[in-house]
């Protein structure tokens, strides 16, 4: 008898359907998520490269070696060069504005597009070439400020350049100099004529590289060790803190979700295989009584499994492809760029998953079939071959571990998830047993429906413990995903809430402070307090002078930073060490930002000497603060009691929120206070927001898929016990029990299972989320009271309904029919 024929026959018998479905679902979920995330990741990566206008970039405040450009070109990479500096721009009528100048070589941008218009606020056009030599593109806002039009000339340094277009958006506007004043984009070849770039000027040199990863990566890797002090390799992380960390977390989350999908699939397969094999013990006993040897049985089931796996891989792969295609067709419009190709990897991952699942989850019970005793044909009550549960579970655990490691490539994430799973299983197994006992005791005193349900729960104590463990596992995974997703999204939104300051004002003279404050108040813009700002330099620690600038040598160097004073701890800052001073303190104290303290290697009690201008200032470190640099609030490395700095020359700064439609306010402001520097962050914030929105959408989608997987596990779990319950129900009905009694018993039984599973799942989910958020996702943790209701209630409803749905035939068909089929 060939395995193929057995499969066909079994298929007709309907028993194989469950196993095949579980396998198909597993492969579909894994390959679907894998394809989805890899396409999403490649699209997000493209998006992030857009922010550099390149795949990789090097930046420095000094000129970069020209040979790097040549080396990159000979490695087959595209290159471009940038020069960024602030400069006064003059119009013919001697009007002048401080602009943030960007000079670009012709090939700029390598990634992304320049958006421009032929008039100041005209129709948008897109291009990927820098302005031609002799021309400039001006930020729309510069047109009224300079009173110029397209075609007029402006002067940058010694060069007169023709205004060719209005620059509306550039791919890398969020990075680097962040736009000290409105942008002027010019061609690199005009720089010598301007004579503005002198040794010692505040400029940023940048070299941009783009190309295939296979070419780029070796180039960047070779470049990295050659970087000297002051030269920086730019990637998404350091060019875009907010976006970088959002992407990292999104990636971690998607990987986590994918891994949990695998765990769920594995559980579903193991359940289905166990049920399949249990139903096949009689089959094998008969085959053996008819003379089949164990080798033959193994070959038979092995070949069946192989065919099943092949079929499931094909079907699941197709389904997975369809799944991600559906996602992208439904939500592709929301993505900023075309989703990238997924390549064959997702389907390889899917096939490998099928193989591993079959070997680790399905084969152990099936392989043991060959040890079924043929005596079972004479004595049906003979127990099935000993279940080597511990061994099976161990093998399953190893398989899950291996798969998760392979998918995520992240040891810590894998271990965190696994710790949660293990804790959950151990907790559930122990607690389920106790709960089931307690349930029986309670049921004994209750009415007959309750007694029926609770007795049934306890009678199958072992099987029910297993079920509670499986249910709680599935629910726990879902809760983890919901919790992590919620806090991820909340944190992102909290990071940049509506009304987040989107403009910074620097260099406000002390005599202008009141006027500026009034002007902001008059325009009813939301602004932060005005902070004094003093440039100062740490020159000695505990009496030891520090090294300077690029001097070689170990240890901390002199650092220049912004100093401010404050009576109270600035909002949003967290004191990590030491105490805050009394509001009227006249002591010579300082509070240092955590990272700064680390790089200076100072702690509370150390003495610092600052140089402000030429004036020395000796203070003692009173506290160390943690600052959220992504908050868009004015943040300072060094805070002093007001009395300490009061006599030093200070300028003031603040940040404020300007709604998108009110940009004109800036024009008036700049005219009134030409010396004040305006930093526009609104574009950066908008970009971060857009990415967060897209990533959130992606996460919701992946969560949806995992929910389906979780529901399948629940269904498989309920189904695995349906046979016995159907049988009992049919017997009870035959004995004259009413439909209400039986249905009530089933409801109570499954609802109780759901309650226990939900409680256990909630506890384990809290533990796992704690580990995940504090260790892996690098987020803060708080208890989630909302899931303490949600978990158990959802579990009761879901499992109760699934149980009743699956057992509905007990009450809907004649008992004789049910008994006969079982």
């Amino acid at each position: 008898m060939t395995a193929w024929r057995m499969l066909l026959r079994d298929w007709r018998g309907g028993e194989l359907g469950v196993l095949l479905a579980a396998l198909v679902v597993a492969v579909a979920i894994v390959s679907g998520i894998s394809a989805f995330t890899s396409r999403l990741q490649s699209s997000l990566e493209q998006e992030s490269h857009r922010f550099l206008a390149a795949d990789s970039a090097v930046s420095s405040s000094r000129e970069l070696p020209e040979e790097w450009i040549q080396e990159a070109q000979s490695s087959g990479l595209q290159t471009a060069e940038l020069l960024l500096f602030p400069s006064m721009v003059f119009a013919d009528d001697e009007t002048m504005v401080l602009a943030s100048v960007k000079a670009a070589s012709d090939t700029y941008p390598l990634r992304g597009e320049l958006v421009f218009s032929r008039e100041a606020f005209g129709e948008l056009e897109r291009g990927s070439e820098a302005p031609a030599a002799g021309t400039v593109w001006l930020d729309s806002r510069l047109f009224p400020l300079l009173s110029v039009d397209v075609g007029d000339t402006v002067t940058v340094g010694d060069a007169s350049l023709r205004v060719a277009a209005a620059l509306r958006s550039e791919p890398d506007q969020a990075s680097g100099f962040l736009g000290y004043g409105p942008r002027l984009l010019m061609n690199m070849s005009d720089i010598p004529a301007t004579n503005v770039v002198q040794p010692g000027s505040r400029v940023e040199y940048r070299q941009l590289f783009a190309g295939k990863p296979s070419l780029l990566q070796p180039f960047v890797e070779a470049l990295e060790p050659r970087l000297v002090s002051g030269q920086r390799l730019l990637d998404i992380d350091n060019s875009q803190r907010g976006i970088g960390s959002a992407l990292d977390r999104a990636e971690s989350f998607l990987l986590l979700a994918g891994s949990l999908g695998v765990v769920l699939a594995g559980v579903a397969i193991a359940l289905a295989a166990r049920r399949f094999s249990e139903r096949h013990y009689d089959y094998v006993a008969i085959l053996k009584s008819l003379g089949a040897e164990s080798g033959r049985i193994n070959r038979l089931y092995g070949a069946s499994l192989l065919m099943l796996g092949t079929f499931a891989t094909l079907l699941g792969g197709a389904l997975g492809w369809a799944l991600q295609a559906l996602f992208f067709s439904l939500f592709g419009d929301a993505l900023p760029v075309e989703p990238g190709p997924a390549g064959p990897r997702p389907y390889i991952v899917g096939a490998a998953t099928a193989v591993v699942c079959l070997l680790a989850f399905a084969w152990p019970p099936l392989g043991r079939l060959s040890s079924a005793s043929p005596l079972k044909v004479l004595r049906r009550d003979l127990p099935n071959a000993v279940r080597r549960s511990a061994l099976d579970n161990g093998l399953g655990l190893v398989a899950v571990l291996g798969l998760m490691l392979w998918y995520s490539g992240d040891v810590e994430l894998t271990l965190a998830v696994l710790a949660g799973l293990t804790a959950s299983v151990a907790l559930a197994a122990g607690a389920a047993f106790l709960l089931l006992r307690g349930g029986r005791l309670a049921g004994m005193r209750a009415g007959s429906i309750w007694r029926l349900g609770m007795a049934s729960l306890q009678r199958n104590g072992g099987a029910n413990t297993l079920q509670v463990v499986i249910f709680s596992l599935a629910i726990m995974l879902l809760l983890i995903l919901v919790l992590v997703r919620t806090s991820l999204l909340e944190e992102w939104q909290m990071q940049l809430p509506e009304g987040t300051p989107n403009h910074f004002l620097l260099n406000i003279a002390p005599e202008d402070v009141n006027a500026v404050r009034e002007m902001l108040a008059d325009e009813t813009v939301l602004s932060e307090p005005l902070y004094p700002m003093i440039r100062g330099r740490v020159v000695a620690i505990n009496g030891d002078e520090l090294g300077r600038g690029d001097d070689a040598g170990e240890g901390p160097r002199e650092r220049e930073s912004n100093l401010t004073w404050s009576t109270a701890l600035p909002p949003g800052n967290i004191l990590v060490d030491g105490d805050w001073w009394a509001p009227d303190s006249r002591e010579a104290l300082v509070s240092v930002e955590e990272g700064m303290a680390e790089s200076l290697q100072v702690g509370v009690g150390d003495r610092l000497r600052y140089l402000v201008g030429a004036q020395p200032l000796d203070v003692t470190v009173a506290s160390i603060r943690r600052v959220d640099w992504e908050s868009m609030q004015p943040n300072f490395f060094m805070v002093f009691p007001p009395a300490v700095l009061q006599d030093l020359p200070a300028t003031f700064m603040t940040s404020f929120y300007l709604p998108p439609g009110d940009k004109r306010f800036l024009n008036g402001f700049i005219r009134s206070y030409p010396t004040v520097t305006v930093i526009e962050m609104d574009v950066v914030i908008a970009q971060v927001r857009a990415i967060v929105t897209q990533v959130s959408a992606a996460i919701e989608l992946v969560l949806g898929v995992i929910l389906v997987a979780g529901a399948l596990v629940l269904i498989a779990g309920v189904q695995s016990s349906v046979d016995t319950r159907m049988h009992e129900g049919a017997v009870l009905r035959a004995l004259g029990a009413g439909r209400g009694l039986i249905l009530g018993g089933v409801v109570i039984e499954f609802a109780a299972l759901g309650l226990f599973a939900g409680l256990l799942a909630t506890v384990s989910a809290e533990i796992a989320v704690y580990v995940l958020q504090t260790r892996t996702l690098d987020m803060s943790y708080s208890v989630h009271p909302e899931i303490w209701m949600l978990g158990p209630v959802t579990a009761i409803l879901m499992i109760g309904m699934l149980g009743v749905w699956n057992c509905r035939r007990v009450v809907s068909s004649p008992p004789a029919l049910v008994l006969r089929e079982l």
Partner: protein, 239 residues
């Protein structure tokens, strides 16, 4: 054909060991029909399981055609069963996911016979079920299921047929019909028949009756077995 020597079976219980068979010595000749009778719990089915090599004796041995079962492992015993042994069970033991035809084909396929479905079809015809070949066990009555089981048992043309309470789950009339069929085909094929029953009527049709009591052989009577059909079952020429 079948020989046992000091055949014992013990099972461990919480309060010690229980000896189900207490040293059985029997010899069954080829083509003989033997009934093992006795009350419930006398060890009938255990003896049958040991004789057929489905179970392993605690002590003593069984020889089938001179081959010692104790010397064989489970797989060797399976091969022996495939070659020489057929079964009919009280609870029929048809595979529920296979049709009547496929159930009968099963031993033929295990034997590697050519065209198992033709042979299976003719056996089903022999037991009068040619109209029900494509039915599943759940669509057949008990008597019909047992007839399929008989067709399956004889399809591989075994030298020995073991039957465990073949009429235990059937009403009297159906049971009688099934018994007729069993003996008819047995006679046609010259099979050695060993059956377990507590039905005197069935035991009486065997050439020899072994009576068990409390795990010991307490009677071995040969007697005038009645070979004539007890009911008007159709006498079809098979195979």
């Amino acid at each position: 054909m079948i020989k046992t020597e000091n055949l014992r079976k013990r099972v461990p219980l919480a309060e010690g060991e229980l000896e189900i068979l207490k040293g059985i010595d029997i010899e069954i000749k080829a083509q003989e029909s033997v009934a093992i009778i006795g009350a419930s719990g006398s060890g009938k089915s255990t003896l049958l399981g040991l004789l057929a090599g489905l179970d392993v004796a605690s002590e003593g041995d069984v020889w089938i055609d001179g081959a010692s079962l104790a010397a064989l492992d489970e797989d060797d015993r399976a091969r022996l069963r495939a070659e020489k042994v057929g079964f009919v069970f009280q609870s029929f033991q048809l595979l529920p996911s296979l049709t009547a035809l496929e159930n009968v084909m099963l031993p033929l396929e295990l034997h590697g016979r050519d065209q198992p479905d033709n042979a299976a079809r003719s056996f089903l015809q022999r037991v009068g079920l040619e109209e029900r070949v494509d039915h599943y066990p759940s669509q057949l009555s008990g008597g019909e299921q047992q007839r399929v089981a008989i067709a399956r048992a004889f399809a591989a043309e075994p030298a020995i047929l073991f039957a465990d309470e073949p009429t235990g789950n059937l009403d009297t009339a159906t049971g009688a019909h099934v018994i007729d069929l069993l003996f008819e085909i047995n006679r046609e094929q010259g099979t050695t028949l060993v059956l377990v029953t507590h039905e005197q009527r069935l035991a009486d049709r065997c050439e020899r009756r072994l009576r068990l009591h409390g795990g010991a052989l307490v009677g071995d009577e040969s007697g005038s077995a009645r070979h004539e059909p007890s009911s008007g079952a159709p006498h079809l020429r098979g195979v």
